[in-house]
């Protein structure tokens, strides 16, 4: 069970903030997980009981399975607060994790699976240090609702988070973009590129300034 295995790798207890777009991805995963439960127990017939409780402005959605009280997925979220907390319970135990952490884990897992020559140029896969720092940055980004538009490996064994403007130039390229560049040694630099004015800025970022930097990059392209 994919979601449960992701949950098992993490060990988080606190709910946190997730942007609406990211929440869509989370909801999709939950839908898949729900279908897995249904397929497992009824051959595809919907047996999940779903009920919603509103409490203190927060909507709680519980999905449970008849006759299998220990198998359940609980999703608690608030559309207004953009918060999400996910609990997965199955016969192997219970795991809790926040939506922000779940999404960071999913993004980093896809980069972790890259092998050498992933780009056709003999480039190394992202280093362990760069993945750890990327996971922290993505967690902060998700928590602050500053989800990057793209998360990619770079050709030097690092990871880059990109924000793109919706304003496009001839050829479809973005008129502005910003990036958080995490080197293979875990060092971080940020960049703001304005292709119209040709004014660019690059600076080093310390790990305790992720929140301010992510907010600046996000604002720059908007």
């Amino acid at each position: 069970m994919r979601l449960a295995s992701i949950a098992r790798e993490t060990n988080l207890q606190n709910p946190s903030f997730v942007p609406p777009r990211a929440f869509g991805a989370l909801a999709k995963i939950l839908d898949e997980e729900r279908n897995n439960f249904e397929n497992k127990y009824t051959g595809g017939k919907p047996i999940a009981t779903e009920y919603t409780v509103y409490s203190g402005g927060v909507q709680h959605v519980f999905l449970t399975l008849q006759g299998e009280p220990t198998d359940a997925v609980f999703l608690t979220y608030s559309e207004n607060l953009h918060s999400a907390d996910l609990t997965v319970v199955d016969s192997n135990g219970t795991w809790k994790l926040s939506g922000a952490e779940l999404l960071a884990e999913i993004s980093v897992n896809s980069l972790r699976s890259l092998s050498a020559n992933w780009d056709g140029n003999g480039s190394p896969p992202p280093s362990r240090q760069s993945l750890e720092v990327a996971k922290k940055a993505l967690y902060r980004a998700n928590k602050l609702m500053l989800c990057p538009d793209r998360v990619v490996a770079d050709s030097g064994g690092g990871v880059v988070l990109y924000y793109f403007s919706t304003d496009k130039m001839t050829g479809g390229r973005s008129s502005k973009y910003a990036s958080l560049n995490i080197g293979s040694d875990g060092n971080v630099a940020a960049a703001e590129i304005d292709r119209r004015t040709k004014k660019n800025e690059v600076w080093e970022v310390s790990l305790d300034l992720f929140d301010e930097t992510l907010a600046r990059l996000h604002t720059f392209v908007r």
Partner: protein, 122 residues
């Protein structure tokens, strides 16, 4: 056996490089796709899209091209002038290999920039 070095590379000859789909932004590629100051490419004259680099590329990549004529112009960064250039660099397992590289102006002469130690280690 490696072929003879064939410089200069003509300004209009295309230099190819495999590019991951995640590094494409419209009609251009992002910095993450290349490792400045030295970028490996394949010369059109010797590879005709059949070099080892291009043949063995993963499925989620495409091929981008640039010519010496379309390299970025020299740029003043701080007090130092930098310029891009291309140079034939045949290798035993890829005779089409060429470098696009950055050099900086030192004492009236351009000196090729080398990869950082960290990049060399990785």
């Amino acid at each position: 056996m490696t072929r003879e070095i064939d410089n200069p590379i003509p300004g209009g000859e295309r230099l190819f490089r495999a590019v991951n789909s995640g590094h494409v932004d419209g009609d251009t590629i992002l910095e993450a796709a290349v490792e400045v100051p030295i970028v490996s490419t394949c010369r059109e004259k010797y590879c005709a899209l059949e070099s080892p680099i291009l043949k063995k590329r993963p499925l989620d990549t495409g091929v981008a091209s640039i010519t010496k004529n379309t390299l970025p112009p020299p740029q003043l960064i701080g007090d130092t002038m930098y310029k891009f250039d291309a140079e034939d660099w045949p290798e035993e397992d890829n005779e089409a290999h060429a470098h696009v590289f950055v050099s900086r102006l030192v004492d009236s002469e351009y000196t090729r920039c080398n990869r950082s130690r960290a990049a060399q280690r990785s």
